[in-house]
């Protein structure tokens, strides 16, 4: 049984059908790259998985447990909050909280969940203990993305690449089962994409499952275990990087790859 199963996802905005039946599975520890031209539904798929859009039809399961089923109309806010914590999300435009320091950006959600959201009344000593734990963990994550020097800076004082690395640490702080990246380098200057891609590459460990929507073909080819090429709201081609990049079956994939890999200066 696959770790993540996505079954038959449909999503329309008004009369525009964006996703027309998406199915795929992902094993624990695998990295999935989703490629495709603009408007093919990659971002919408990523947003559906993170409960930012509600699919019109479809089911997703993690480890065999049903996380979402479009037939079940009545998910409460609380249920959705719990379910979406299986997933983490890194946005194209970072979306850091500008009024908080880098450290607080990473620790805030944990504090809200474990201290403010605690079901039992916490004593001051317990609170301090939890806070210390969150603080240590946040610092560790920031160290991992190479920003241990910047804990007290504000997002506006960082470069785009640094901001995106903070956003990655912030998503990791919630210990998601599956981390999704929605075009994480598209808003960055070309010279800053490298540092972000390097961090994502380093995250690839045996138990970290990731979905990366990307335009960086070389990155997708070298990091991903599985590649999906999307076109017009369907999965046009799915396979290992060598299959999709090396020997594409579909004409659309071939055309897309030719265009993407074309060197305009040659």
């Amino acid at each position: 049984m696959a770790f993540l199963e996505i079954k038959d996802i449909y999503k329309s905005f008004g009369k525009t059908e964006v996703l027309k039946g998406i199915d795929f599975t992902l094993e624990k520890g695998e990295v999935l790259a989703i490629i495709g031209s603009s408007g093919s539904g990659k971002t919408t798929l990523c947003r559906c998985i993170n409960f930012l859009e509600r699919p019109d039809r479809g089911v997703f399961l993690i480890d065999g447990e049903e996380i979402f089923n479009a037939e079940d109309k009545a998910y409460t806010d609380k249920q959705i909050r719990e379910k979406r914590l299986h997933f983490g999300m890194v946005f194209q435009s970072f979306n850091l909280f500008p009024q908080y320091t880098v450290l607080k950006n990473v620790s805030l959600a944990q504090e809200l969940m474990r201290i403010d959201g605690s079901e039992k009344k916490l004593s001051a000593a317990e609170k301090a203990e939890i806070r210390a734990d969150i603080d240590a963990n946040s610092r560790k994550l920031l160290d991992m993305v190479g920003l241990s020097e910047k804990t007290d800076s504000y997002p506006c004082e960082l470069s785009g690449g640094q901001q995106q690395r903070v956003a990655i640490a912030r998503a990791l702080a919630m210990k998601p089962d599956i981390l999704c990246f929605d075009e994480p380098t598209s808003a960055l200057d070309p010279e800053l994409t490298g540092e972000v891609l390097r961090v994502i590459r380093e995250l690839k460990t045996s138990d970290r499952t990731m979905i990366v929507v990307t335009h960086e073909m070389n990155f997708a080819r070298s990091v991903a275990d599985k590649v999906i090429f999307m076109a017009d709201g369907v999965i046009e081609e799915i396979g290992t990087p060598d299959e999709v990049f090396g020997d594409p079956k579909s004409e659309k994939t071939k055309a897309f790859l030719e265009k993407s890999l074309e060197n305009p200066l040659a």
């Binding site: 993170n50 409960f51 930012l52 806010d77 909050r81 719990e82 979406r84 914590l85 997933f87 983490g88 999300m89 946005f91 435009s93 979306n95 850091l96 909280f97 500008p98 009024q99 805030l108 959600a109 809200l112 969940m113 403010d116 959201g117 504000y154 997002p155 506006c156 912030r170 998503a171 919630m174």
Partner: protein, 236 residues
Amino acid sequence: MSFIDVTLQLAEGFMTTLLIFGVTLLCSIPLGLVITFGSMSNFAPFKGLASEASSKFVKTLADFKPIRCITKLFVWIIRGTPLMVQIILVFYGPGLIFGAKALPRITAVLIAFIINYACYFSEIYRGGIESIPKGQYEAGQVLGMTKSQIFFKIVLFQVIKRIVAPMGNEIITLVKDTSLARVVMVVELVQSAQDIIAQKAIIWPLFYIAVFYLLFSGLLTILLNFLEKKLNYYSG
């Protein structure tokens, strides 16, 4: 009547001006937020009725948001009529319409001011809230925060920073609007100058009160600038 006597008498009126200013601000700032929530409410009781196949009428009914409509109507009325008329209405209205005992003058004035300013503030808040990028809400959502955590821990502070300047405008206007209270014979600064003019037949106190207003709004400007600088520790 000496300069000092006039100053003392005007200072007494100025205390009432300060009272109206202070209480109005204190109450209308939070009340404005409540009105904002009303005017942004998405509560639609008939939402479940419509399906793809419903008639146009049913679809319109399904989109009907009663709280939002009523709040917007209320804000339109309050912003669309003079504050002076509202003060008169609150003070004389209950007696004329229901034969009820009139409220104390200052209470009537305060009620009218608080409601009026809360409506103006609510629109400033709404503009501020709507200017916060959707990504801020989404970032909070994917981190498992509740709606109220997102509002109070993430959005509100950014809204405050964005609305300090327009709020400052309204607050300075309020300083001078307090003079409308004399329409129901509340002796604030302008009325106390009028009293002096009527009793002593001297005209200069009427110009002298401008100094009170200027000094006070100057002080507020300094405070607001200080606040704006404080909030400027981050950009964006």
